[in-house]
Amino acid sequence: MHIQESSYREPLIIGRKDYKQITDDVCKGVEGKPNKYWYIAFTISFLGLLWYIGCVSYTIGRGIGTWGLNRTVDWAWDITNFVWWVGIGHAGTLISAILLLFRQKWRLSINRSAEAMTIFAVICAAMFPIIHMGRPWLFLWVFPLPNQFGSLWVNFNSPLLWDVFAISTYFTVSLVFWYVGLIPDFATIRDRAITPMRKKIYRALSFGWSGKAKDWARFEEVSLVLAGLATPLVLSVHTIVSMDFATSVIPGWHTTIFPPYFVAGAIFSGFAMVLTLLIIMRKVMSLESYITIKHIEYMNIIIIVTGSIVGVAYLTELFISWYSGVEYEQYAFINRATGPYWWAYWSMMTCNVVTPQLFWFRAIRTNLTATFIISIFVNIGMWFERFVIIVTSIHRDYLPANWSMFHPTFVDIGIYVGSIGLFFTCFLLFARFFPVIAQSELKTIVKSSADHHKSNH
């Protein structure tokens, strides 16, 4: 019945792991007590979250004037952070949906935590457009709701409105995709629970899942169709985010290359963040048998591919601005590379184009320390990419009298750093209370891809 893989293919589960052992290993994180690293990380993240709440409250109380925006640079860190977080949120669905359609078995050890990361990243992202409205209590106006003004409807021609639909669809669909996968795993924890409290909580979370043959058949169908729906969805989301810029008439923004370039960039930054988190998580939660060096290597290969696409896109932008013959377009790009923000541009180039190329060397892409450092570089580079696109394109507009620089205030910095605190607080809670590996689905590949089954043949 099971399909034996080629013995040349490296195993995806290391060690003698039978079904019972996999359950024990995955449930250990939920059933045991967290170690001191978890408490230290949680304390730091939670302080970040408190700082975030403080700065957001201050922004809402005093207004957007607390940020470093001015009349020339009227979009800066808020949108940079928004696009950065949405991009990070792309890896989860990519791993679970696209890799499911391509039947990539290595997705199974990492899809759960990558999807969790997607959801938390989209929450962080969605906060930025809401707080930058200035009057966030009116955020319901972005939805087409009947109102007292006519009704005055939203403008369906606007990419900003497309964003509302794209992000809300992406968030809710990712959430149910993640949750449907979690149901059988919650049931496992429920059936092993010793304390009545744990039994009660996981009974509620598992929705009464019993593992009947018919339910599993439906489960598989739902996973497959959701993957089929989520694949074009994930590509549409960053396409639409890029159209926020591409449909404008700002030199440096209105380029037709933006949609594919943003999608590749999103996958690139998403995988970098997955690597940053998983390299720590596999160590702290002792999941080295499941998230193997091979998994890290596969992700690094995706980083080279998407990083190179991003690099080609940067060069294409430069070429097209020269080739267009439009003075303002040309100036926008010369100013990026040599103007007052040259350091941001060259940080972006170094982090996104140069460092990932090191992964061509097998020794580097299978080295955890090197991967971790490069993944941090990519995270930083991708933040600079959005900063460069947004701020350097608008800080010198058509009238030199309007030229200006952007200086972030402590509120800008607080909201950005704090949003990382929000993200890590959510992720650490997830790692503590949720099964971090999709163990039910992982068990389906034990016979074909686990170490001891492969060596038997």
Binding site: T23, G150, T169, V180, D191, G208, G211, E221, P232
Partner: protein, 174 residues
């Protein structure tokens, strides 16, 4: 109260061949509990393929139609807005810039409609009580629930053991 017999297995391949053997001997398999999806089990049990994907397609079409109705009503019928002097008085003129919203609504309805249908047909909701009698079947064991066909308990247990069950259990259930 009714007597139900369970054959417990520790391997999905043995389970699958047990199901096939029992089926060929006309035993009435009431249910099979597994910790993960076992390929071929649905077929061996003679279940019909689920129609959830068809349902999803219909939900998607519904989302698309509702989206077209909404955009047409709001921006063409009820309150047309002149944006940059671009033609905006017919749906056909504006359709291209409605595509992103229509696409998202299609996916939204297809995905959520299908997941809701899945939860309803499987009887899953917060607070529902699980019905697997042997708790280990969500972790590492597999169980076949057999109707005794008016045979005596000994005979049922024998047939289950002959299919390489590691253990047989008889429970009283409602």
């Amino acid at each position: 109260m009714k007597r139900v017999h369970y054959g417990i297995y520790d391997d999905e391949e043995i389970l699958l061949s047990a199901v096939k053997q029992l089926k060929s001997k006309n035993w009435n398999i009431k249910e099979v509990y597994t910790p993960f999806p076992v390929h071929g089990l649905e077929h061996a049990l003679g279940y019909k393929h689920t129609r959830l994907s068809t349902a999803s397609f219909i939900y998607g079409l519904t989302g698309l139609s509702l989206g077209m109705l909404m955009t047409w009503y709001m921006l063409i019928q009820d309150w047309p807005i002149n944006i940059g002097g671009k033609p905006n008085f017919t749906f056909a003129d504006n359709f291209t810039s409605f595509i992103p919203v229509l696409f998202e609504l299609t996916i939204f309805c297809a995905a959520h409609g299908m997941v809701l249908s899945f939860l309803i047909v499987c009887g899953l909701f917060p607070g529902a009580k699980e019905s697997n009698p042997i708790p280990e079947t969500t972790s590492h064991l597999f169980a076949i629930e057999l109707d005794d066909n008016n045979a005596n308990a000994e005979e049922v247990n024998q047939i289950l053991l002959s299919t390489k069950a590691i253990e047989v259990k008889t429970l009283e259930r409602d």
